[in-house]
Symmetry: C2
Subunit: 334 residues, 2 copies
């Protein structure tokens, strides 16, 4: 059906080997024959079949990406941008799967990617996933990099952000502003390392200043739409009539949800309650009260992860944890 190097070879009157040499810019070929071959290839509308190359050379030139999903916020979308930019530049394709933070889906996607022989993976893993899958990947020598989240049991490269420090800075800032009752808001969510770390940073600042770390609004179930869950958790929390003057939310989406609940309860931000988010979603600037937040270098995380992974694919036996810094961005809610 499709035209192959064999067809070109016949047309140009040379052997397959020579055609391959011409197409792949290899040495040991006369410039003139090379030119002639490339021309006939173009004329015959030849398309390289990378499947065959992959099979032979044991390199698919595809990396797999597993994310919880793209819809809850721009967070992973921006990380993905960074990954894609680096990969496309290096001629890698990107095969993607959303886990929806569902361990079974994640396991299924790992298998799908492995069967398609991706050269490596970038993963934001879900806590609770069967770590045997990751151990298998290691045994099968398929490099992978964790991004944003990670599994403590699995030793591999990690690209993350200094969550503890970010939350510490934000909390300290609130304390300096005179707040005594600061609530950490985690919203209904599945467990993950980032949340834990952010909570630790918050707690550290609170304890350093001799304050009480106030009750956090805790997950009762696992929810996709974080804005909605933040909204509902805050509504519930307000009914309890607890005294507080500031909130540090674990991410922007939850903060936006909380903001809506506070607004509907006629609580003035920041006069009555200060609010700080996390991640610095682009949308924050467009809110009526632009949200104070902790900025996370999302694009860079993705870019660096891809860089690291492809370096590993190329044989560099690195094993490191890259921790990127955060910045407190003060806007109008604090």
């Amino acid at each position: 059906m499709a035209v192959t190097i064999k067809d070109i070879a016949k047309e140009a009157g040379v052997s397959k080997s020579t055609v391959s040499r011409a197409l792949n810019n290899k040495p040991r070929i006369d410039e003139k024959t090379k030119k002639r071959i490339l021309e006939t290839a173009k004329k015959m509308n030849y398309r390289h079949n990378k499947l065959a190359t992959s099979l032979r050379s044991n390199k698919s030139m595809v990396v797999g990406v597993i994310f919880p999903g793209f819809t809850t916020s721009h967070f992973y979308a921006e990380i993905f941008n960074g990954i894609e930019d680096y990969c496309v530049n290096e001629e890698y394709g990107v095969l993607i799967g959303s886990s929806d933070s569902d361990t079974e889906k994640e396991e299924k996607i790992i298998q799908l990617l492995e069967e398609r022989k991706v050269d490596g993976m970038i993963i934001a893993p879900t806590i609770g996933v069967n770590i045997d899958y990751y151990k298998h990947l290691q045994k099968d020598n398929i490099p992978f990099v964790f991004i944003d989240k990670y599994l403590p049991e699995i030793k591999t490269d990690i690209i993350k952000v200094n969550n503890t420090d970010g939350a510490y800075k934000a909390t300290n800032y609130l304390i300096e502003k005179g707040h005594k009752k600061i609530v950490f808001m985690s919203g209904p969510e599945y467990p993950c390392m980032s949340i834990k770390e952010r909570y630790q940073g918050y707690k550290k600042a609170i304890l350093n200043n001799g304050l009480e770390f106030s009750k956090l609004i805790k997950a009762e179930k696992y929810v996709f739409n974080q804005r909605k869950s933040g909204y509902e958790a805050m509504k519930k929390f307000l009914k309890k009539d607890i005294n507080f003057s500031a909130i540090l939310a674990v991410n922007d989406s939850i903060a936006i949800g909380a903001m809506r609940a506070l607004r509907e309860a006629n609580i003035k931000i920041p006069d009555e309650v200060a609010l700080i988010g996390f991640n610095d979603d682009d949308i924050l600037k467009y809110l009526q009260k632009p949200l104070t937040t902790v900025k996370v270098p999302k694009y860079q995380m993705g870019f660096k992860a891809a860089e690291l992974l492809i370096s590993k694919i190329k044989g560099n036996d690195i094993n490191e944890t890259i921790v990127l810094d955060t910045d407190l961005v003060v806007r109008n809610t604090s």
Copy 2:
């Protein structure tokens, strides 16, 4: 290196063919041998190599997706969700590329996907792209489906939304509310069919009611961040001191940008100016003034596109344009 069916065959004392039959649930094999083979496969930690299968059977079980990008809004992210859900269920992988609405990038991605022998593609094409690439796909018998956007020159299946009707409904609603000076806001953006259609719907409603279709804020250049461009276009527009009482924005992101500019200019929404967006991004509900908009069934678009594409891959020679309906969602800005 990795264990192959040959290894299993040796271990189980059968031939490669028999192993293949066992693994693929094919007939003409004894239940007992099948069971034995499956067990040894599991024991040996066998991983199917789909690359080899693809090469042999000429089916990669991968579909390619080309979108402008994921970051400007949730629009494509939600479409992608629909695509992925359908594809994963049908055992297809999803290879993705962002064009950033850059024709050269789009052409590069088409080639990348074609070389990886995807079985089909779902594309939101960029106007101005060299249509030869698409003609080649057709000549090479690689099915593809346009989604959201399309190229009039290329005859293929299209999944879209009734943009004209949506804009018509929104404009009519504004007219019924008594608005006489309604501005259509397209924001700085590259040309695309959806925008044209939405503008036509707007114009039709205006003309039907004997009004003047007021100047639209026009693109001066091509911009990634639509919120930002909407914001800046509106700031510029306000300086011109033109009389208007309502705006129909071509999408929610631009509307959100415009909203910010109006707010900063102390113009009350909806009292002084009514504002309607398009698409119904989830974020709208969380704005201080939840935005009136035209709801687009994004997830369904993606799901249907995948369904259609895979049906074509399986040999059904369909050629249709599916037009999904929109709904006007009235909130607090109109």
